[in-house]
């Protein structure tokens, strides 16, 4: 990626990227019973990371976020598969999920579901795939 000296882009990015990150996590957690979920949350996170790449360039962002995005794909997939296969341990059909109500400090009484773990797998896979595709095309000359 070519380095530009885009003051406006950089200043707004430092603000907007964090809003995007926060919103993507909100979407990810909302997905259980409202619009949102792992897929859309993952896309939003990738958008935030991409914005940082556009503003600060390949070198700087790779230093801040030293993540091998290609590795995120199998990690995400294994999280998703393991949660679906986990139902075998309890003698339940493949892909079964369960939930319960727990008291958490600060948040109060909340519903926690194992479906979120499956969604986490989807989230990681989507971030991994999107970033791999975009960075591969961007670094190709």
């Amino acid at each position: 990626m070519i380095q530009h000296n885009d003051l406006i882009l950089r200043t707004t990015t430092s603000l907007i990227a964090f809003i995007l990150f926060g919103f993507s996590i909100y979407l990810f957690l909302a997905g259980h019973s409202a619009p949102g979920g792992g897929f859309i949350g993952g896309l939003m996170t990738s958008a935030a990371i991409l914005l940082m790449y556009m503003a600060y360039g390949n070198k700087a962002v790779s230093k801040i976020l030293p993540i091998n995005y290609r590795m995120l794909i199998p990690i995400g997939l294994s999280v998703a598969i393991l949660t679906s296969v986990g139902s075998f341990l309890f003698g339940q059909p493949f892909l079964s999920h369960t939930y319960g109500y727990f008291y958490l400090p600060v948040f109060g009484e909340k519903e926690l579901a194992t479906a979120v773990l499956f969604d986490l797998g989807v989230y990681l896979t989507v971030v991994g795939i999107t970033m791999t595709i975009i960075l591969t095309i961007a670094s190709d000359r």
């Binding site: 199998p74 997939l77 294994s78 598969i81 296969v85 339940q92 059909p93 079964s96 999920h97």
Partner: protein, 493 residues
Amino acid sequence: MSNLAVLPIVMPLIAGVLLAFFHNKLPLVRTLAKVLTIINFLVVLYVFYYVINNGSVVLETGGWIAPYGIILVADIFSITLVLTTNIIALATVFYAPLTLSKKQEEFYFYSFFFLLITGVSGAFITGDLFNLFVFFEVLLMASYGLIVLGGERVQLRESIKYVLINLFSSMLFVTTVAFLYSVVGTVNMAQIAERVGEVEQKGVLTTIAILLFFVFGTKAALFPLYYWLPKPYTVPNPVVSALFGALLTKVGIYSIIRIFTLIFVYQTTFTHDLFLWIAVFTLIFGVIGALSTNNIKLIIAYNIIPAVGFMLLGVGILNETAVSGTVYYLVHDMLIKAALFLLIGAIVHLTGTTDLKKMGGLIHHYPLLGWMLFLAALILAGIPPFSGFIGKLLLLQGALLNGEILVVIIGLLSSLLILFSVMKIFIRAFWGEENKEIQPNRKMANKLTIPAIFLLFFSVLLGVGAELFYPGVKNISAYLLDPEIYIQSVLKE
């Protein structure tokens, strides 16, 4: 409820993901791939044994009951095909390290390989029409990865064609499923069958049936939709060609068999008579293609087409003898096509050319390879007592029962020409003057032949032990022709 039905899908999926973690540690990946394939084969063997003894295993995923959730049905037909798929996987995983370059193996070959097995097994086992589409996509995604592996110019050119035609037929598939849903209000295959039966397939339902046939006909390479098949199947590595040739078109023909013995069986004078003619044309044009070329990979790729024609013949005739012929031929063809592609791949790897005119006298250097190719040719063409003969015998017997004399004559003639097209490879490549320029590498040749011998062993067993397998195949045929059993096992009313 039993999780056994999902094991043939989940096991290769886990294997594929696991191997993606250390894709560049080759010795480890190779060993793990072999071990995991063997484990997977044993698990499938157990499920097969269980289904044979206890009847269909039906799994309602996530605990959602029958017409609402996604249903997986491991019945005698689908589990037989899954077992055959795993036999082929076993042979190819041992063949792969010999012909693939290091770079290709490092570029996630084994992950794509296992995902392909996942998709194929899933397509066989699912009991939900939309889910069938999903598994088609899984296997197609894996095949897109495999076909460009290596990234040569000719590969990229052919894969564009392959991707475009498959994208088009997938789009049509989804649209057709939506049509069908708007008419019958369900995507569960058992419930579709029940509801189509209630109205005796009146009105627009036959149109939808033909649209579905068009979709699966594209995947299965039937006349006139086969034109995309031969070339893309010859450009990738022989292992990939073997997997494609043995599995991909067979998933298409499996779907036709399933849909047109379970759901759309009420307007046979229209649909199934059409199949008969399409089958005949597929036979004729496929054989002409196979005779038209001197490229040995292309000869074998063209030979996929008449084989699919034979299988469709049984669906068109739709009596018990003919359908058991189709089932027999399906299993036989999966094994023999994989074996042939592996043998041809060995020849190409050893001589460095695909042109038949540049070969000759190979029998002096590679007697084992030569005689195995000879045996494979006999099995493919259906010389008694091999498995191709028994499949064709049942099919033609079924055709005679319905008085389709013309079909029988064309079937026999095309078998003769198939024999000629494959024997041509044996005669031109193995007989004649030996080419002094080729440096013989007998050790490598033997290594390359062993996986093919493994497949030929099962193929010969299927033919010589026909007495043993025939009752089972007849059972499957009777099961397929009575949709009630499937509907009952899924909906449990």
